[in-house]
């Protein structure tokens, strides 16, 4: 019991303590406190992760057929490790970045709580538990969006809240029905539907599946409910935007994996109109997100639109319901998680050092902050999909999965749209590098000052960049894991 409950409860307790206890007089004391708590949390999490057995734990019965239960499987572990890595690095980055923001204590407090909730999400063993943590995630991540409490931030927070609740309710609607039509709500590879009932009520169940996909898709920023994402992510402080964009949207992806592969089951959904609709929506989002990012002039917003587009790569991979594409999708979860956090942290470093937020102001930025912009460039190349970065591997698998799928239209349409979108990605990410390093003749070199951020900001950036490259070079252990997952669910 302790290996499941402690990693969830400990960060929440740390966070609540941070929120409730008085503010230390000196900022360094607060940071010391936070880093001690962080080390403790990470240490215990890693220790318990090596020991966790994967046995199901029913914590208590909510009502007679609904239990709060936990079980950690391979897919949960992959998400969990990614979350821990990104969380830890983003926290370290925040130590410096948050110097110029108000209410630091509250920020760290909620960052801890969000980690606890995300842990619960990865550990959840049935749909009810998952749903409970999903709702909590919305609520606990909202203070990160609201952080600077300007009018804009509050409106963005409300928008985030209402989209998320609308989505969660669509999902809940499906959940109500699944009580009737499922044998159990425990996550089971291959689905839990009662075959006889499923055969009788196929149209209804398909509608429900679509509603749940749309509902959970809100968190992943899928069209038509994506509008909150480019509003909410950029208003948060940059490290929080990084975490929101890299990790919290993945909660929606995890939700869709759970619903499609562990509740409805591939065999029930494959070849139905629901799959087609989902593929169309995902591809539409990929294309639209890239286009909007291309037009956007504010760097953080551009990155947020890019998230909309890139997460739908993952969703497209999932919607193909094909083992190779599935591996590609999960690979892209990791790749995008690492890369997007790098990009947002770079944007944060630029804001912190120069205060510039618009793309056209960034002329010559590469001369001022070479290390940061190199990290930005390498990460961008990863997101575009240039070997040897992780983005290349994931897109390769996504495209070959699409070609394997045997679907007459999407087998070619998918890769084409992915390619076009990759070009657009290059189009919206690389100009910053180009104008950054080659500012042109009009640039005034004399007025330029060196503005490289301090080590606390640069080191997380370097680690994340390195990870995004390494995960593209040493691929076989992860691919072997993904193969094993795919074997169970297909």
């Amino acid at each position: 019991m302790i290996d499941y409950v402690l990693p969830i409860v400990l960060p929440v307790i740390c966070g609540v303590m941070l929120l409730v206890l008085g503010v230390p007089q000196k900022r360094s004391n607060l940071l010391l406190l936070v880093s001690v708590a962080m080390t403790a949390v990470l240490g215990i999490d890693v220790l318990l992760l090596t020991k966790v057995s994967g046995v199901r734990l029913n914590l208590f019965e909510l009502t007679h057929n609904v239990a709060i239960s936990f079980a950690l499987d391979r897919i949960g572990t992959i998400f969990y490790v990614l979350i821990l890595v990104v969380w830890c690095l983003v926290m370290i980055f925040s130590f410096e970045y948050m110097k110029h923001e108000q209410n630091e204590k509250r920020y760290y407090g909620f960052f801890f709580i969000v980690l606890g909730v995300l842990t619960g999400l990865c550990f959840a063993g049935n749909l009810i538990t998952f749903y409970a943590f999903f709702e909590l995630l919305t609520l606990t991540s909202m203070p990160l969006v609201l952080h600077n409490q300007s009018h804009e931030a509050v409106m963005a927070g409300l928008k985030y809240l209402f989209y998320s609740f609308a989505g969660a309710y669509l999902a809940l609607l499906g959940l109500y029905f699944l009580f009737q039509y499922g044998n159990t709500l425990d996550f089971t590879a291959g689905g839990v539907l009662n075959e006889q009932m499923a055969a009788q009520h196929q149209p209804l169940l398909l509608v429900l599946a679509l509603l749940m996909i749309l509902g959970f898709g809100v968190k992943a920023g899928m069209f038509p409910m994506h509008a909150w994402l480019p509003t909410a992510h950029p208003v948060a402080p940059a490290p929080a935007s990084a975490f929101l964009s890299a990790i919290i949207v993945k909660a929606g992806v995890l939700a869709l994996i759970r619903v499609v592969y562990y509740i409805f089951g591939v065999s029930f959904l494959r070849g139905t109109w629901v799959q087609t609709t989902w593929m169309i929506l995902a591809l539409l989002t990929v294309f639209m997100g890239s286009m909007l990012a291309y037009r956007e002039k504010i760097l953080k917003k551009r990155l947020a639109y890019s998230t909309v587009s890139q997460v739908s790569y993952i969703l497209f991979g999932l919607s193909l319901m094909e083992p190779v594409a599935f591996s590609g999708a999960i690979y892209h979860v990791i790749a995008h998680g690492l890369i997007k956090s790098t990009l947002f942290l770079c944007a944060g470093a630029i804001i912190y050092q120069t205060g510039k937020i618009r793309v056209e102001e960034l002329n010559g930025i590469g001369k001022q902050m070479p290390v940061t912009i190199w990290c930005y460039t390498i990460a961008s190349l990863g997101l575009i999909g240039i070997p040897p970065t992780s983005g290349f591997i994931s897109k390769w698998y996504l495209a070959s999965g699409a070609l394997n799928s045997g679907n007459p239209v999407f087998a070619w349409l998918g890769p084409v749209i992915l390619l076009i979108s990759a070009l657009l990605t290059a189009g919206y990410l690389l100009p910053i590098t180009m104008h950054g390093f080659f500012p042109g003749e009009a640039f005034d070199y004399k007025a330029m000052k060196k503005a490289e951020p301090c080590k606390k900001m640069v080191i997380p950036l370097l680690i994340l960049t390195a990870l995004s490259v390494i995960s593209g070079v040493f691929t076989s252990p992860l691919l072997a894991q993904l193969q094993m997952i795919a074997d169970t669910i297909f």
């Binding site: 208590f60 909510l62 009502t63 409970a132 409490q149 927070g157 209402f162 609740f165 109500y176």
Partner: protein, 514 residues
């Protein structure tokens, strides 16, 4: 007959006598008498609950041993005992939480009168819960109305007097219709005891005579009680009555008084008419539609509101809509969901009222949203309490609101015709709830710079703080350990249905008496 079986009658009588005695007591004596009374009644309800639930029995208690059809009877099962206990807990907590406000809102010479009203209110609520006699029910409905008017008016300013008069007019209209309905039923059946009426109603329906009079009787009883419990189109009196009265009164009125009438309606549906007769009358469709409308329009009015207490009051309209929607679904599962929602809503709504009073205290007594900005930092425990209540209203898992929504949804899936409208309106209403409650939560947690407003710490308001903590613990317990409560409700409802074979129960009662 075991001694514990006398407790329900004792508790009603005790409350009535305490009411009379309080009128000549001093302020503090009346306060303590009232507190002890509620605790004693609660303890007796626990004993009765334990007795009925462990024996799995239902018994009829004849007042003064006058036998049916002339005598007056109480009928006690675990649902009744549980409801009585629940009402006591909420009433006690609401009074504790509003005590400091009472000092300010009411002249000190009138405090004993306030407790007279509270005692009478408690007696009438208990009587509505326990009685097996329609006319007794009517009498206590009137006592309840008068006491409730007094509770609104005890804080004397223009708005409360206007609100009380509005409440009085609407409420008397409701009681009048109830009385008319009871008269018609008496005319049709010749009885006033619920079990006897039920017997006759069944035979009337079987013969197929008096169709229209029976339908009219059912309709006006239902509408009468719907007016009194503020179902959607009849809710105009509610926001003023709850919004301007002193905070204990608001909490008690919203969480108990309207629920007492709803409980009476449930008894009438099950024990007087019989569920099938009520189901076939078509009234449930009216309830269903009005319930759905209430869920939507109540929330819309709440969104438009700029005054926190009136907003909470309008949210009551929406929540009462949920309960009536459950009636309208017309299945036992839905009825269980409705009863659970009565409990869930009562806890959360009184919590919200009490917590909001703590928030307005630190905002220059202003109830407007603009002034409440940052109030949760100035009165921390009130902020937490309000947040818990709000999250429950929105239906976040582990809070009672989520469980009742889950129960409603599961019930509506079993009813194919009404499934879609019910689920869709549940969805819309959830989102609307989220809009106004979470907007308020964000507002009270938005810090402000100016230090004009005072800050209240836990130490300065121990009683208030402890009360809120108890409320929070109680609502979390209700939300996370819902299964025993749902089982209890189910057991109670089943015994209501079994007892609709009246003869056997009377024989059982006779054997128990001897």
């Amino acid at each position: 007959m075991e001694f514990v079986q006398n407790f329900p009658a004792f508790s009603i009588m005790l409350c009535l006598f305490a009411g009379i005695v309080s009128s000549v007591l001093k302020k503090n004596a009346a306060k303590w008498l009232n507190t002890i009374l509620i605790i004693v009644v609660g303890a007796m309800s626990v004993a009765v609950l334990y007795y009925t639930a462990s024996m799995n029995t239902v018994y009829v208690y004849q007042m003064g041993r006058f036998s049916a059809p002339w005598g007056n009877e109480l009928r006690i099962g675990c649902l009744e005992a549980g409801t009585a206990l629940f009402f006591c807990i909420i009433m006690l907590l609401s009074l504790l939480g509003g005590r400091t406000h009472l000092e300010e809102d009411v002249e000190s010479s009138r405090h004993n009168l306030y407790y007279v009203l509270i005692n009478l209110l408690l007696s009438s609520l208990l009587a509505l819960v326990y009685t097996n006699d329609l006319f007794t029910a009517y009498v206590f409905v009137e006592i309840n109305t008068i006491a409730a008017c007094g509770l609104i008016m005890v804080r004397q300013n223009g708005r409360t007097i206007e609100a009380a008069i509005r409440y009085m007019i609407m409420s008397l209209l409701g009681s009048g219709m109830l009385l008319l309905g009871i008269c018609m039923l008496y005319d049709l059946t010749g009885h006033l005891l619920m079990s006897n009426i039920h017997e006759q109603v069944l035979s009337i329906v079987a013969e197929g005579t008096y169709k229209v009079p029976l339908l009219v009787a059912i309709a006006i009883i239902s509408v009468g009680l719907a007016i009194k419990s503020a179902l959607f189109p009849f809710h105009a009196w509610l926001p003023d009555a709850y919004g301007y009265s002193t905070v204990s009164s608001a909490a008690i009125l919203s969480s108990l008084v309207s629920k007492g009438y709803i409980f009476l309606l449930i008894k009438i549906i099950y024990r007087v008419l019989g569920f099938e007769v009520f189901h076939d009358s078509g009234i449930i469709n009216v309830f269903f539609i009005f319930g759905l409308c209430g869920m939507i329009f109540g929330s819309f009015s709440a969104i438009r509101e700029n005054d926190i207490k009136r907003m909470i009051s309008f949210s009551s309209v929406a929540q009462i809509g949920y309960i009536y929607m459950g009636f309208g679904l017309g299945t036992k599962e839905a009825m269980i969901a409705s009863i659970y929602h009565i409990f869930a809503h009562a806890v959360c709504k009184s919590l919200l009222f009490i917590a909001s009073s703590g928030l307005t205290d630190v905002s220059n007594r202003s109830r407007h949203f603009v002034d409440l900005t940052g109030a949760a930092y100035r009165n921390k425990i009130a902020g937490v309490g309000f947040t818990v209540g709000a999250l429950s209203m929105v239906g976040i898992p582990l809070f009672p609101g989520f469980i009742s929504k889950l129960l409603f949804a599961q019930a509506s899936i079993l009813n194919h015709g009404k499934m879609l409208p019910a689920l869709i309106v549940l969805a819309i209403s959830t989102i609307l709830n989220a809009i106004y409650f979470l907007k308020t939560v964000i507002r009270i947690y938005t810090p402000v710079e100016n230090g004009r407003n005072l800050t209240i710490t836990f130490r300065q308001q121990r009683l208030f703080g402890v009360t809120l903590l108890l409320f929070i613990v109680f609502s979390l317990a209700l939300g996370s350990c819902s299964q025993p409560i749902v089982d209890l409700i189910r057991q109670g409802l089943e015994s209501e249905i079994i007892s609709s074979i009246p003869n056997t129960i009377h024989q059982l009662a006779q054997s128990l008496m001897i």
